[in-house]
Subunit: 338 residues, 2 copies
């Protein structure tokens, strides 16, 4: 089934490249507000659901037990750029249950932020697991394991207590089954489950509004959203979409990217959740769609409107800084039926 | 018009992402050997046509005049990774007509090769135009300008003598008009012209075989192909597709990537030219298609077959080196009518 072209990249007078995808917007009652493309097929949400994966940590009282700061809670939801503050925060999280960085099972990679990667090299270091964009999430898992009195070793495995708790939280929020046949392995080695976009959107609607979930879960969600709104730098980093959007809109928007062209958001004041999948897996496609969606639904003054437009009507500049084209949404993105 | 899905990226049991595109294979007489998808619309070939853009330099006798080495001729066709040898070779090219690096008008960027970028930072340097992946092509343009007795200043502009000559070469090889209405500006600031895939494929068929072009042009093409076959490292770099393919197949395959999911090739022994455009502009899509196409047409022994299969049946590994999925061609890539 063909998803419509949602985003175009132009050069001169021509459309040079095109991105197809699907979008689902659902309210906290589960009613579809908008559906574009094939919203029935399963999508691995990847990192987009990190905040939901952090619910057991907070709801279980372990953020309180280990006196996690708001910055640390925000990092538990992060796909961070590996800048010094991110790395330091991940390290500080692990100290609280007294676990060494070696306990992290996410693997290592150079910081996503290129300047930070170069600075690390200049300092004579090579990256550790702390630099991995998922290190905050994993530090949160370590805290969860220790809080539950479980041996953290093997916490990435589907059968570990931590992943049981995480899967339960995802099922509770989305209402979708997370069974072994729908399971893949994520970049950081934890399980990821294929789930239809409307279920993801529903999960975010509930995460954002607290409607339809237990009081303790709603409180935990609120704590997470507040922490992220105060520390949006932690969730991504310098020059990153999620950080920029949330630094501007604070608790009005919770937005989170996932690998392979996934992007999810909650708009708490509307009780809406948004889930986007760009077919080809590109960030360029997904971010343009997400920015358009936020602009479509959130009530914006002129300044905020202009700010957001910069994310979905984006000049393409060449190596000399000359504007040679633009990335823009298509008409198809203005459509979409409930 | 919908192009078919040509490439899938899987995770676990699911297809996670999909790449659509079009492919044209044409012989040196201009007959279509294969056409998949919409091969009528115009495509900016971007860097894929660098070797054709280098024809005036060689055919005009300026490679000889400036005693350019094979490595330098190869670099004139390159989208190089900015590794030390690339940078040094671009610098040495400019010395020959006695022009300073400041004459390059491509702009600067950090080396495409991340390790080289970090090493550059560690050495305390910041990138210059020499590190730009197009610096060899531009050094070649400087040599062309000087050889033609023209002031190199402004050599990137459409109206400059250099770009006139380059456009003429592209028109001669492809048989397609390169007019202002079809023009965009490339990443490195020179003009790029939208051309249908079969015309690009035709250009490469002629570039590879020498059929249907003047004797002097055929000789120049042969010189370029020979230089590239000997110095395939120059055309791209460490771990890069084009370098790996040509290091293996030498003069049997001339292959060149272009930005936004373009890939072109010549198979001289068959007199074929291949042109690929991945709709969404991704390298992942285009390289998988190109590797499949080479495997489909080139007569291969078992070892070469296995080698090439590694480029179109590619495991996806996570940060811990665990295989979590694969990138693979679809059935649609096995189809295609003349």
């Amino acid at each position: 089934m063909e998803n419509p072209v949602l985003v175009e990249a132009t050069r001169g007078n021509e459309v040079e490249s095109r991105h197809r995808g699907a979008v689902s917007v659902v309210d906290a009652e589960g009613a579809s507000v908008l559906a574009i493309g094939d919203v029935e097929c399963r999508v691995f949400p990847r990192s987009a659901v990190k905040a939901l994966q952090a619910l057991p940590l907070v709801e279980g009282g372990f953020a309180k037990k280990y006196r996690l700061t708001d910055a640390e809670i925000a990092l538990a939801c992060a796909s961070h750029s590996g800048e010094p503050e991110h790395v330091a925060t991940a390290a500080s999280m692990l100290k609280k249950p007294g676990q060494p960085p070696a306990c992290l099972e996410c693997g290592s990679h150079w910081p996503l932020n290129e300047e930070a990667a170069r600075a690390l090299a200049v300092s004579g270091q090579t990256p550790t697991a702390l630099h991995n964009n998922c290190s905050g999430k994993h530090a949160g898992f370590i805290c969860l394991a220790c809080g539950l009195g479980a041996d953290p070793k093997g916490y990435v495995k589907p059968e570990h207590t931590v992943q049981h708790a995480v899967r339960t939280a995802l099922e509770d929020l989305t209402g979708a089954s997370h069974t072994p046949d729908a399971r893949g392995t994520d970049g950081c080695s934890i399980p990821t489950y294929g789930v239809p976009l409307p279920a993801l959107a529903f999960g975010f609607a509930r995460f954002g509004s607290g409607v339809g979930i237990s009081k303790s879960c709603a409180r935990a969600a609120g704590r997470i959203r507040s922490a992220v709104a105060k520390h949006s730098f932690m969730v991504a980093g310098t020059g990153r979409f999620d950080t920029a959007i949330m630094e501007r809109f604070r608790e009005r928007v919770f937005v989170k990217t996932g690998a392979e062209g996934v992007h999810c958001a909650a708009l708490p004041e509307l009780g809406y959740g948004i889930a986007v999948k760009c077919d080809d897996g590109t960030k360029r496609g997904a971010e343009t769609v997400m920015a358009s969606m936020i602009a479509r639904f959130l009530k914006l003054n002129e300044a905020d409107s202009g700010f957001l437009a910069g994310f979905f009507q984006k000049p393409i500049q060449n190596w000399n800084g000359i504007t040679v084209g633009e990335v823009r949404p298509t008409e198809a993105l203005a459509d979409g039926n409930a």
